[in-house]
Point group: C2
Chain length 164, copies 2
DNA sequence: GTCATTTAGTATGTCGGCCTTACTATATGG
DNA sequence: CCATATAGTAAGGCCGACATACTAAATGAC
C-alpha cells in the first residue's frame, strides 16, 4: 500500500467535526426555508435567543450570554435587533446599575409559536423513517456530547480556573 | 395555567435545530483550538474541502461543490486559498474546456495528517464517557438525518424536479 | 474613605462561512 | 446555425461570531 493511499484513507469526511457541521448547516437551511414560508421576522440565531429567554425568564444579559455560549457583544447585537422588532425589552437591574435585565414582550408570544411550528416542520423532514427509540438515544448522546464540549470550552477560556 | 406559561413551555431550546447548532459551534471551536495548537494552515471549512478531495480523488469543481453542498462560488473561494497555500492544483478537463479538475498536491499529505490528528483530539474531548455502542448508534442516526435533510434541500432548490 | 481592580454592556473593526447576481467562455441540441 | 444551458468566477453582501478598548459602576483591600 502506498503512502499516498494510506494518508487519504485515514481522513474521514464523516468524522464528528464535519458531520456536525453538515447537520447544522442543513438543519439551519431547512429551518430558514420554514421561517421564510411562515414570514417569521427573525433569524435562526435570534430565534435561539428568544427560545432560551422563554425558558429562563427575565435574566441579566451576561447570564443569558453565558447560557447561550456567546460573547456578551454577540448577544448585544442580537438583542438590539429583537428590541427593535419589539420582541424584547431591556430594563435596569436595581441591585447593579451596570447590569440590564432582558424580558420578552407580549408580542413575542406569537413569534415564539411561529418559531416552534417552523422547528416542528424542519424536524419532521429530518426525522423521516427514524424510530422513536433511535431518536431518543440520538438526543441523549447529543446532549452529552454538548455537555462535554461545553466543559472543554470553559476550560479553554482565559481567566478560568488556573490563572492565565 | 396562563397563556403565557403555555407558550413559553412549548418552545424547546434543545430541539433538533438549536441542538445541532450548538454541537457544530462547539465542535468547530474545539477543532479550531486544536488546529491553532498544531499550527495547521487551514480553516475548518478548508479542512473539510481537503477531506472530501482526499476521499473522492481528482474531481471537477462543480461535482465537488455538489458533494460539499455549497454553491460553486463558495467552493471557488476555498479553492483559491488552498491553491495559494500549495495544497491543491487546478487543471483543465480535456473533455470540456469550461470545466476544471482539482487535485491534491504532495504537500497536502502532511496537512491532511495534521487535520486528522486535530479531529481525533477534538472528538476525544467530545466523546468522553460515551460507550462505543451509543456512539455507533449516534453516528448512524446522524448520517440518516443528514441524508434526509440533503434530500429536502435538493427538493427545495429551484430548477430541480418540478419546474419552478 | 480611598483607590486599584474587576465587571456589565457596548462601539468599532474584523473574520469566516456562506449566498446571489451577472458575466465570459464553452457545450449542446434542435 | 443559433438559442439555451452550463462551468467557473467577479463583485457585493449577509449572518454569526470574535477581540480590543471604552465608560460607568461595583467591589474589596488597606
Amino acid at each position: 500500500m502506498t503512502k499516498d493511499a494510506s494518508v487519504t484513507n485515514r481522513i474521514d469526511p464523516d468524522s464528528l467535526g464535519f458531520l456536525t457541521g453538515d447537520l447544522a448547516r442543513l438543519m439551519r437551511a431547512a429551518f430558514e426555508r420554514e421561517i421564510d414560508r411562515g414570514a417569521v421576522p427573525v433569524t435562526s440565531a435570534e430565534a435561539r435567543v428568544l427560545a432560551h429567554m422563554a425558558r429562563c425568564g427575565a435574566t441579566r444579559q451576561n447570564k443569558l450570554a453565558d447560557r447561550l455560549g456567546v460573547a456578551p457583544m454577540s448577544l448585544t447585537g442580537f438583542l438590539d435587533k429583537l428590541e427593535q422588532a419589539g420582541l424584547i425589552a431591556r430594563g435596569t437591574d436595581p441591585s447593579d446599575r451596570r447590569a440590564k435585565i432582558v424580558t420578552l414582550t407580549p408580542a413575542a408570544d406569537a413569534v415564539l409559536e411561529q418559531i416552534a411550528q417552523a422547528g416542528d416542520r424542519a424536524r419532521t423532514l429530518a426525522r423521516r423513517d427514524i424510530s422513536d427509540a433511535d431518536w431518543a438515544l440520538f438526543r441523549d448522546v447529543a446532549l452529552r456530547l454538548r455537555g462535554n464540549l461545553e466543559q472543554a470550552r470553559r476550560a479553554a477560556v482565559p481567566g478560568r480556573g488556573v490563572p492565565a
